[in-house]
Symmetry: C2
Subunit: 605 residues, 2 copies
């Protein structure tokens, strides 16, 4: 070992002893020919005093040095309370430069943490020099916390008898519906592997295999357009159990979350509350409601049943209260109209309640006197509040009000990174209409309905026997766990019976040929005795971002990609040579169709 | 939970209580209208007795059932000592079929484990129905052991302060020299990611980042021809440390190995012995010698210095003893000639020592009387032994004798799966001549010499200052850990100084342009103060195969690929559609060279 002690471990007890430290020059100050070096290693900082000017001369920021010297108490008044080692310093006897450093593209000194100079570095520069970014306290802490968090989750799952199993990543397209990353298979000309969007099919196969309790910290891949906070490769904590129902999975999941949040000293109240999907939409306009604050949506459909106001003569009218919003200047209300239009709405109707209780705002004059008189009570508004309305079809209106609810809370300063509100969303619809598809998903099958989750999700209760009869109201045994408005995990009971799975695929308009082609091996496996099973997958990057108070999952990934899926550090992806292309078999033609069909049969018969 | 107890947990203490079990019908026997079902779950087997013929009628092998009934002592004389639950049985009151099973392609019943019927299933059928294969005791045990082994390794590394960090798998070509798997990057037309052959560069960057102690159970990818026991994706336990030398890494590695082998009740004698590469070649003809047995190679070069036998008038003559080999029939010695020729040798000269001490065999008459007289003593042969010779260039001769040494031990029944002999191989040559390249590797650079390990390996001791002067004898600070003739891990101290790295690349004939293109980002990172660092990577699949007594790493991988990189279960890889091909950007042209060069500069400048 090139050192005897870690810098951050020095204390009064070592006074008078000789130590050897190794680390980086975090900061250097000079007073009267004496150099004071803050020596930084992974454990912390220690002050090194160098009296020999010649020795001290070459040392610059981020040089890697080794120092041997005697620990002594700092002179009275020179202690540094902000440092764990602030009572002592090391008087250098020997100093060795292990590696010099060129001037840095941005400052990483611990002393600058939190300052403008240190924080205002553009994201791309941080990514390009990620190895320097990670020398700063907050980024390094985020990675260390992530390791501790993963360890805590593994401990819980190990205690519950789960078996950690690694599943393949050079595999076949999985049916999540997003775009696959593809890999040419040199040895099977014209054929390609797909990188997995999740271990979904493999974990179900492991249940058929009798492993009973599986988990994996699984790398997953989705070739999406990288808007917002997405990464082409991301991590799931993935688990599956046999001979259980959703209660068992949720209990284990809560144990995992409790252990994980305990790593940052937060105790999650148990049991985590549950909210039916329909209630979440009704009250919060979202299937991932932020429950750090209240202020639910108020359904005013009945209230406005006989309204003279044409705009409110719709299947649904709802409202959201903006506490204190009455005092906003007009231009802010105008900005809210733009905000609503950017979300595809026509605008955002509103009223304000003056301090004297009278109504103002564009809507006030359009509604009846009775409506004006009862409105404050109906929406729970106080003098000084504003109220936004949405009217039209139910779901889009609720969604708009739900988004306004969060935005109001944000502008009102009600969203705190160190508060956490968890909720299970349950009783999901089993299906959605194909025309309701989110843009993340690709419709599977040719029917009018597609799976809200995926085609392996079990219908809830006795819907399993009659989901075809009333698909609009059929519920699934699926559950999402939501924290602060983020879906941080989700799962379901799975269909384990061949007959039910075949009915489901038929209902979704997935032909036997398509089913055979896409996941014939799973259907085949189910013929040999599949146990009832259920599972969950946690979005591990998002959970870690929440835990470390990071805005972006990039902050909890060691080497994240930029928005376009590029890595400014390594320059990946990069052009390949013609020779590489030829060798990888990128342009090889597949075997003749007849042979390919046979190969398919052999694999899936 | 669909059950109250695990089948394998039933014991006398539960007599008289009502339990609900769920699992598979492992075996069914019928006696006088009563059905006896061995119910199997992950925990073990319990006997269920069903008196109702109608209830019992449909139950077949591998049906998934749920049984509620009372635990009772088995009648005197009917206990089954081979079962943990053999004192009791469950008298079924309710039986529910959770899922039926079609007839199986091969038997998986626990009762058949180890029998001809169960074991003689072809590898491809086992892979295609891996979910059935894993219901059998040995394959399931191998996966469960692997989970325990990984947990043990993590525990040790956590205790040593290592931080588990996930590195990217959509990345840029790494310099291991094998062929990369490639992934088209849709969003960067004409550019491709490479799947990592190891996290080598990223872990070095993490050291530059000051993480100091990193580890990862890392998926790695090499697009090799899948001869022998290779998989296109495999797992390394990968670790790196800062401010250490090889002694520190070896100490941690031994802690990991000790904890891992303790999982199968084996205590590894510490410290693990060390052998210089040169000695390993001299004594065992291999850099991964199997030390479960002795019988080293005997160097007879001096002994035959004046030999009249033309075949032995070579730079090197060596011999290996075959204890008791004199009694082999002539056709076996002929077979040994074929064995040697299949390894590229001209043959395998030999003598036999008769019980009366006289020499026989083709070589005997060619050597001098003095040589005949002294040979037994020189090679340590006893009456009844045979001795094989190899003569020619030193390394090929030693390699041939080393292979013969292992083959003799195998044929003599000296290789036992449950004995483990560990050895560190140290003092590796830093370079090898380009014409000595193994076929795994692609020569890096244009020089006469290439790295024995990789270009980031630090020269040992003061070779760092003068490796160019005597490349043939220069040693590296590299170390391999070998168990039973398998290289199960390897690592090195790394070059951390830009000046040394640049000299190394220049010596290897890697131009600054090529270096910039391939790993410019690492060289760039080293400019900003890289700490001295060293690491190791363990071949996790191989280690787990050794621990579970498996012949092949396939047995310790949940869903392995067949020899051609195919998965008979899922049918991966598979042809892709023209639409997928177009969408993935497989045929997109890269940006214009000028732009590409700029992008490269931006990334690596």
């Amino acid at each position: 070992m090139l050192r005897t002690h870690q810098a951050g471990s020095l204390g009064k007890d070592l006074t008078g002893t000789t130590v050897t430290l190794a680390g980086w020059v975090d900061r250097r100050r000079d007073h009267g020919g004496v150099a004071f070096i803050d020596l930084r290693d992974a454990s912390g900082i220690a002050q090194v005093v160098i009296y020999d000017e010649e020795v001290a001369h070459p040392l610059r920021s981020e040089f890697v040095i080794r120092v041997t010297g005697e620990v002594r108490l700092r002179p009275e008044g020179n202690q540094n309370e902000r440092l764990a080692t602030g009572d002592v310093e090391v008087v250098a006897r020997e100093v060795e430069v292990l590696a010099p450093s060129a001037p840095l593209p941005f400052q990483v000194s611990t002393a600058l943490a939190g300052t403008e100079e240190a924080e205002h570095v553009s994201g791309d520069i941080r990514l390009k020099y990620r190895y320097l970014d990670l020398r700063r306290p907050a980024p390094a802490r985020a990675l260390r916390l992530r390791a501790a968090v993963t360890r805590a989750a593994r401990r819980v799952l190990d205690e519950h008898g789960f078996v950690e199993i690694e599943t393949p990543t050079l595999t076949r397209s999985t049916p999540e519906g997003a775009r696959d990353f593809l890999v040419p298979a040199r040895l099977v000309p014209g054929s390609w592997y797909a990188l997995p969007q999740s271990p979904q099919l493999y974990k179900q196969l492991l249940m058929v295999a009798g492993m009973e309790r599986y988990y994996q910290v699984a790398r997953c891949y989705r070739d999406e357009d990288f808007r917002a906070d997405r990464q082409p490769e991301f991590t799931q904590l993935d688990a599956e159990m046999s001979f259980v129902d959703q209660e068992d999975v949720m209990a284990v999941a809560e144990d995992v979350l409790a252990a994980v949040w305990a790593e940052i000293g937060v105790e999650i109240p148990r049991p985590i509350p549950r909210l039916a999907y329909a209630d979440a939409m009704r009250l919060y306009g979202s299937d991932k409601p932020d429950l750090r604050f209240g202020n639910p949506i108020v359904d005013l459909t009945d209230f406005f049943a006989d309204t003279p106001f044409r705009v409110f003569q719709t299947p649904y009218v709802g409202a959201i209260r903006y506490p204190g919003g009455a005092s906003l200047p007009r231009r802010q209300f105008d900005a809210w109209q733009d905000w609503a239009r950017s979300r595809g709405a026509r605008g955002l109707a509103y009223v304000t309640f003056k301090e004297d209780g009278t109504l103002a705002g564009p809507v006030a004059k359009n509604i009846s006197e009775t409506e004006r008189a009862g409105l404050a009570e109906a929406v729970g508004a106080e003098p000084g509040d504003a109220v936004f309305f949405a009217a039209g079809r139910t779901k889009p209106s609720q969604t708009l009000l739900g988004a306004a609810r969060v935005e109001i809370a944000r502008r009102s300063g009600l969203l705190h990174d160190d508060e956490f509100a968890f909720v299970w969303i349950v009783d999901f619809p089993l299906f959605k209409r194909v025309d309701e598809e989110g843009d993340d998903d690709v419709a599977v099958g040719s029917g009018a309905w597609t799976s809200e989750h995926h085609p392996f999700t079990k219908p809830a209760g006795d819907w399993v026997d009659r989901f075809e009869e009333d698909p609009e109201h059929a519920l699934s045994a699926a559950y999402d766990i939501v924290c602060n408005g983020n879906e941080i995990g989700g799962g379901s009971e799975r269909i384990h019976r061949t007959d039910v799975q075949e009915r489901m695929l038929a209902f979704l308009g997935i032909s036997p040929e398509e089913a055979h082609e896409k996941f014939g091996f799973l259907l085949e496996a189910f013929k040999f005795g599949a146990p009832p099973h259920a599972g969950i997958a946690f979005g591990w990057d998002r959970i870690n971002a929440l835990l470390s108070g990071s805005d972006s999952i990039r902050d909890v990934i060691a080497f994240p990609k930029s928005g376009g899926g590029q890595d400014p550090l390594t320059g990946a992806p990069a052009p390949i040579s013609a020779a590489q292309r030829a060798e990888a078999g990128v342009d090889a033609a597949p075997e003749e169709p007849a042979d390919a069909a046979e190969a398919g049969d052999a694999a899936n018969a």
